[in-house]
Amino acid sequence: MRITLNGKTMEAREGETILSAARRMGLNIPTLCHMEGLPPTGACRVCLVEDVKTGRLIPSCSFPVSEGMDIATHSSQVVAARKTIIELLLASHPDDCLYCASNGTCELQKYAQELGVRQRSYSGDRNRIDLDMSSPSIIRDPEKCILCGRCVRVCSEVQGVSAIDFAGRGSNAQVSCAFDEGLNVSSCVNCGQCVMVCPTGALTERRDVDRVLAALDDPKKTVVVQHAPAVSVSLAEEFGIKPGSDVVDKMNAAFRRMGFDKIFPTSFSADLTVMEEAHELVERVKKGGPFPMFTSCSPGWIKYLEEFHPDLLGNVSTCKSPQQMMGAVVKRLWAPAQGLESGQVFNVSVMPCTAKKFEAARPEMGGEVPDVDAVITTRELAEMIRMFGIDITSLEGEQADSPFGDRSSAGKLFGATGGVMEAAARTAYHMITGKELPELKIDAVRGLQDVKEAVVNIDGLELKLAVVSGLGNAGRLLKDIIDGKRTYHFVEVMTCRGGCISGGGQPLVTNPERVKARMQVLYEIDRDASLRVSHENPSIKALYRDFLKEPGSHKSHELLHTEYSPREVLK
């Protein structure tokens, strides 16, 4: 079908919207409520374009193309209308840009700038709504909300949680939890996907940079930093380096410049998780269940189960997550060996995830002396690097510290959906057969599909595996499992679609291409690695030899395992 866009004719696809055709042509149309992959709502109108034949303004995000259509995307009428829409949104908006977490990334700010808004044209009453600071992961500032609905939709349509929704109407309308309560008593699982889609500063992570700075300044503290596998493959983007670059060595150098005393990659403790979790799986195979066993490294998923399927908590692996295993090992084993009190060690964790802040604060995770003291996101790490004036591109690479600096590439794979499964399958195979899997790469669990299935044959035992990411997808898979339509031995669940590479703590510009690039570099790291299985990691072997004895030992259970219980929330 042929349509005309700004005087040029082009081939448009049946059923696509004007917006999608225009984007293919390289035309930039602003959008606020539009979400790729979800049906349009037409809430914001900022995407409007002109139907040249009638002079009518129509929303391009929801209007399908039709044969012979003639559209102007930037006529003076269109630009003026867009400007008015932005000005009206600003009428009740707090002019807080200078103090706003979204200064520089805010889409509202960007459009105001682009459309030439240089003064207040409408002065409505400024929104006055309290901040919601109740959550350890997410801060809500409803005064900055423009009611685009993206957070509401991601929470319900993608994550299947529905912690937030529109409430009230007219000028009193706002996004809130049930009963205007704080996020902390809602069903919110802290995934941060709402933060990722929010165009403004209405949703941001709870910032822990200041606590980290204070610890770095404290001469009595030994500050240990761990960084999750998905951080080094996305951090570069914050500094304009091409997506899909792994900057782990430069990041290490930056950590040292900022004053961190020890650097241990979380991929090391991911290897440890693999040992414990594979052992648990093998034990369950011997005992005949309970199946399926679910992975436990994604804290949003754990909270989701506690709230929505507490009856399945017995199926979850008792392993703590790699973040928490690292915290425990550093504070309870490493610190005493260094002659340090656990209170003298300050454990910082850099995560692609906002839910990890919640996880670290859980009472099960160390209690009085928490295993992990502060969790910052990839974005917060980038902020610190900028704050210290470090030019990451020009740094010489450096290595992590011993004794927990070695990792296998299996531990690194944890950063993408399917990675935990692949790593665990490699080690479980070895635990049962004493041999290595003939083909270490398990293609069936790789890639960005929502649900992946695989069967691994271990000496005649057909181990049925599933991998799912995104809680909405997980919820649907669970239903099939509960209804007996699907049976598995082991299911990996990641809260965010695609896994940690698209976690709620990642650079705000996260799109499918970038996620793919981050995934690709993780696969390349695995392809090129000489150490590809967790059980051969020399530091892991030493840890068992010197401290833990063997996977599933008494000591392991004391430090590395936990249990969860049902959680009552407003849901």
Binding site: A167, G168, A178, K571
Partner: protein, 158 residues
């Protein structure tokens, strides 16, 4: 227990879908006087609708409240006659004096405000009713006095 009343209402709506949300909310409010957390959670389970959505729908309409009414329940008429006679100002004054929005109850449980469409007292416009007792041709200046009298009478009783 509240929940038995709520469950009774739900029993009358077996196997229904989301389209029955509003009538159920109305009946539960009728039975309980307000929509409490327990009610919202139970209704949500029954209809498979998240609590945040029920709250969202309910706050879209003026008729629902989420707290028990206060000791003095003030209904303010926003019908046409009362509007013409200045009920908007009255409502503003009430909100300011009590520090709560319509549908809410003051922290001390003393007052609650409800906006009603027309209480059929157009001859008395603008009118408010406190616990069913009408006050006719109320001016904004009279509001503090009326509220003061309520407080006084509460003190005398206790």
């Amino acid at each position: 227990m509240g929940s038995t009343k709520i469950l009774k209402v739900l029993e009358r709506y077996p196997g229904v879908g989301k389209d029955k949300l509003i009538p159920i909310l109305q009946e539960v409010q009728e039975a309980e006087g307000f929509l409490g957390r327990e009610a919202v959670i139970l209704i949500g389970k029954h209809l498979d609708v998240p609590a945040s959505k029920i709250y969202g729908v309910a706050t879209f309409y003026n008729q629902f409240r989420f707290e028990p009414v206060g000791r003095f329940h003030i209904q303010i008429c926003r019908g046409t006659a009362c509007h013409v006679k200045g009920s908007a100002k009255l409502l503003e004054t009430l909100k300011r004096e009590l520090g709560v929005e319509p549908g809410r109850t003051t922290r001390d449980g003393m007052f609650s405000i409800e906006v009603v469409a027309c209480i059929g007292a157009c001859g008395l416009a603008p009118a408010i009713s406190i616990n069913g007792e009408f006050h006719a041709r109320v001016t904004p200046e009279e509001i503090p006095v009326i509220l003061g009298n309520c407080r006084k009478s509460a003190q005398e009783v206790s």
